[in-house]
């Protein structure tokens, strides 16, 4: 069964790099994109044009986003009993310790630094594939929905 991954990212270049890197993985993955927190929330709540959206198995979240930023989105998801079990990986270029601490306090499942080089991007996504999509047990689709 395909793994549904939601990428919440506003930078088109980063989206492109993530798409290519995920495409290189062997896992069967359906990538979904949202360019800000409001769009991501509509996807998760199946609102508007997103009424058929699947429940993602994993969310990859940038912190600095227009409209609703990543911190706010993270806090809302992790306070929502129907959504908080979906693992959220922060992928951010922020180097600030405060962003790392706050993300974990808001129950981000993990924090990864967004690289600046293509090779490193590819390596990060390969590691996400090897660890999160192959070794980690993710919550069952639809359970608790």
């Amino acid at each position: 069964m395909a793994i549904e991954v939601l990428i919440v990212e506003d930078n088109p270049g980063d989206v492109r790099l993530l798409q290519e890197a995920f495409h290189n993985l062997e896992n069967l993955i359906h990538l979904h994109l949202a360019e800000d927190g409001v769009a991501a929330m509509a996807f998760l709540k199946r609102e508007g044009v997103q009424s058929q959206s699947p429940r993602p198995d994993l969310i990859i979240l940038d912190l600095n986003l227009p409209k609703m930023n990543g911190r706010e989105f993270l806090a809302l998801i992790k306070a929502d009993d129907n959504l908080k079990m979906v693992p959220i990986i922060i992928l951010s270029s922020s180097e600030a310790d405060a962003d790392v601490s706050l993300s974990y306090q808001l129950h981000a499942n993990c924090f990864l630094r967004k690289p600046t080089q293509w090779d490193a991007f590819d390596a990060i996504v390969r590691n996400i594939g090897a660890f999160w999509l192959a070794k980690t047990r993710l919550p069952q689709q639809g359970v608790g929905a």
Partner: protein, 143 residues
């Protein structure tokens, strides 16, 4: 790098110690055998007054006295501890345990393999992902 292993099985403790020794000799693995002792270690109570704050907690679910679910709930409710990444490492494959662990804000859920080689491989992956690739919360300020 300090890791707290909360595990009651002597065989699994031995395997984890050996696997970390091979994967990353700079890891100091601290072992406690039940949930009550785990909370004492994290809160520096009793004989654990000098305990470091671990960078990572590896937590079994089924343990005597206080089980892993209760430890996880307590860690994630405590504002001074809730940022410590807590990884469930258990033999349970039950969907209910997986879902409940994520609802209690476990950072990730791993199934404990039974074969030695697979166990070593998993510890290496924990090391490669969590201790090499992931950014962990910065050390606590002295209190």
């Amino acid at each position: 790098m300090d890791i707290l292993l909360v595990e009651d099985s002597p065989g699994d403790i031995r395997l984890t110690l050996e696997a970390f020794r091979d994967a990353n000799p700079s890891v100091r693995l601290h072992v406690v055998n039940d949930g009550v002792e785990a909370m004492a270690f994290l809160r520096r109570e009793g004989g654990h007054a000098q305990a470091p704050r671990p960078e990572l907690v590896l937590l079994d679910l089924n343990m005597p006295k206080m089980d892993g679910r209760e430890v996880l709930a307590q860690i994630k409710k405590d504002e001074s501890l809730n940022l410590i990444p807590t990884i469930i490492l258990t033999t349970s494959e039950a969907d209910k345990d997986i879902l409940e662990s994520y609802q209690l804000q476990a950072n990730c859920y791993l199934r404990k393999p039974v074969e030695l080689e697979a166990f070593e491989g998993l510890v290496k992956q924990i090391n490669d992902f969590w201790l090499t690739m992931a950014r962990l919360p910065p050390p606590a300020l002295p209190t």
